[in-house]
């Protein structure tokens, strides 16, 4: 009982914070690229697709609420849709009930942030506290159906979508995407970050050539890959699989930092 109360109070604070931040960021997306926004391209597209109809925004969010709810029940993971879809759409819906003017509602960071704070508080508290009261058979469906589906989406479906987009965007972008994508899966466990960086570098060089900006970008990417290799202990795994003797100092270094591969 005491735990439930703690979860409830903490959820109120967490919900308020994410509702405020995410909704303000989403409203600022409509002013990009002049103003730096945050959210996602797909969030922008989905918000536009609802065509400032509060009912459409609400039902879109509701569909993903069931998803988030079942996932929270089965596994304790609220899904990324809470920040990406449910909070933005419900905030937009609440803001638009009386006023359909986009500039005053969805595109207005002040309105969205303040409405979003309330939406977030209610939503996160609901998700975190009612999870335990849902029937066991539903928890089972959530874990066994949504678990594999979201796992497939993260790997390999998302990597393939980004990979094909990179390949279709030109020879240079395709080459960078392919190399960094393959290496990305080796050292980070997922190809998407590698492909995204490949697209950024490839397109940057297409448009600007090898300037100071693109060179430092490529340098930062190389550092990231080296650091990730070390973090996951991919260097040791590689040496093992190549049947090369691992230098003693390297093993000790990994031992000392707790980064040995499993």
């Amino acid at each position: 009982m005491n735990d439930t109360l703690t979860v409830l109070l903490e959820s109120l604070v967490i919900g308020g914070l994410i509702g405020f931040g995410a909704s303000a960021g989403v409203a600022r997306m409509f002013h990009a690229p002049k103003v730096q926004g945050m959210g996602a391209f797909r969030t922008l597209g989905e918000l536009n697709a609802c065509q400032n109809d509060p009912v459409a925004h609400f039902s879109f969010g509701l569909g993903f609420l069931f998803n988030a709810w079942s996932s929270a029940v089965g596994t304790g993971a609220l899904t990324g849709d809470v920040d990406h879809r449910i909070v933005p759409h419900w905030t937009a819906s609440a803001a638009m009930i009386k006023n359909r003017n986009l500039a005053e509602t969805l595109h207005n960071p002040r309105r969205m942030a303040l409405t979003g704070t309330v939406v977030g508080m209610v939503l996160i508290t609901l998700l975190n506290t009612t999870a335990a009261s849902i029937p066991h058979s539903l928890q089972d469906v959530a874990a066994k159906v949504l678990g594999p589906a979201s796992e497939w989406l993260i790997n390999p479906v998302m990597p393939i979508i980004f990979w094909m987009a990179a390949v279709d965007a030109g020879r240079r972008t395709g080459a960078w995407g392919t190399i960094l994508g393959g290496l990305g899966h080796l050292v980070m466990g997922n190809a998407v970050p590698g492909i995204v960086l490949g697209i950024v570098i490839g397109k940057g060089v297409d448009d600007l050539g090898w300037t100071k900006v693109t060179k430092s970008l490529a340098g930062a990417v190389i550092i990231l890959f080296a650091a990730s290799t070390f973090l996951r202990g991919a260097d040791i795994t590689l040496l093992q699989q190549l049947k090369v003797d691992i230098p003693h100092w390297l093993l000790q270094f990994h031992d000392a930092t707790g980064t040995k591969p499993q």
Binding site: M29, M38, A149, I154, V192
Partner: protein, 247 residues
């Protein structure tokens, strides 16, 4: 791969807002902030990122202590869980750091920071994994420590993005978008794949659940609602009456 039907409204949506922001109606809530006001200013960005990051990091604290509340997909959260249950945090750390870095580079170039990769996966999974691997459990064990730690991380990310934005996009005079259009198309179509994946997964789990999922998705498609929602509700309803046989 670029889905023109969904990315076109997204591209168009960003433009009209700038023209219509000059209206000045009454009321505090509906008053539209001007171009130079706090809500649309450059330095407000780190503040918003700090709020969101504080919430997400504290969500991970809730997950660490009470096993609920992490803002991520099951598959990603399970990487962190592997570390919490005595395994290695390496996978979660590298996965999270990779996404964080890629999105922080991408964000200022395209004008939109992807909160899924940068904050939910980076701050919510990657950084906690690194802290826990290094033995710093305090920020994840205590609520009042988790909030400031998350806020500082978010503020740092927000400032880093503004710095990169000044050094790249603004200095080159906006001649390159660094592949924003490519990423937009890919990001838009990624969400569409979830529906079919849920149906395939449901059909693998058991026949009644698969059937329910298919019918639900078909009905939602007929009603012109997102297919994914129908697939999930159908699977849940079928699973309520015909539980998935355990192994």
């Amino acid at each position: 791969m670029t889905d023109s039907s969904t990315s076109a409204p997204a591209a168009a949506g960003g433009i009209p807002a700038q023209n219509s922001a000059t209206r000045t109606p009454g009321g505090f809530l509906t008053k539209v902030p001007g171009e130079g006001s706090f809500w649309l200013s450059e330095w407000a960005f780190p503040v918003f990122v700090a709020c969101l990051a504080a919430g997400i990091f504290t969500g991970t604290h809730l997950y660490y202590v009470y096993h609920t509340g992490v803002f991520n997909e099951v598959a990603v959260a399970s990487m962190l869980k592997a570390g919490m249950e005595g395994g290695s945090y390496g996978a979660a750390a590298a996965f999270g750091a990779g996404f964080l870095f890629a999105r922080v580079i991408e964000g200022p170039m395209v004008g939109i920071l992807d909160i899924g990769g940068s904050l939910q996966t980076g701050v919510g999974i990657g950084i906690p994994a690194m802290l826990l691997a290094a033995g710093f459990t305090a920020p994840l064990q205590h609520f009042w420590l988790a909030i400031p730690v998350g806020a500082v991380l978010g503020a740092l990310i927000g400032v880093a993005i503004l710095v990169i934005r000044r050094a790249t996009v603004n200095s080159t005079g906006g001649t390159s978008t660094f592949g924003a259009d490519v990423m937009m198309g890919a990001g838009n179509s990624a969400g569409r794949y979830l529906g079919p994946l849920v149906i395939i997964s449901a059909a693998t789990a058991s026949l009644p659940v698969g059937l329910g999922s298919t019918i639900g998705a078909a009905l939602f498609y007929k009603w012109q609602k997102p297919l994914t929602g129908g697939a999930i509700i159908g699977a849940m309803l079928a699973g309520l009456f015909f539980p998935i046989p355990g192994k």
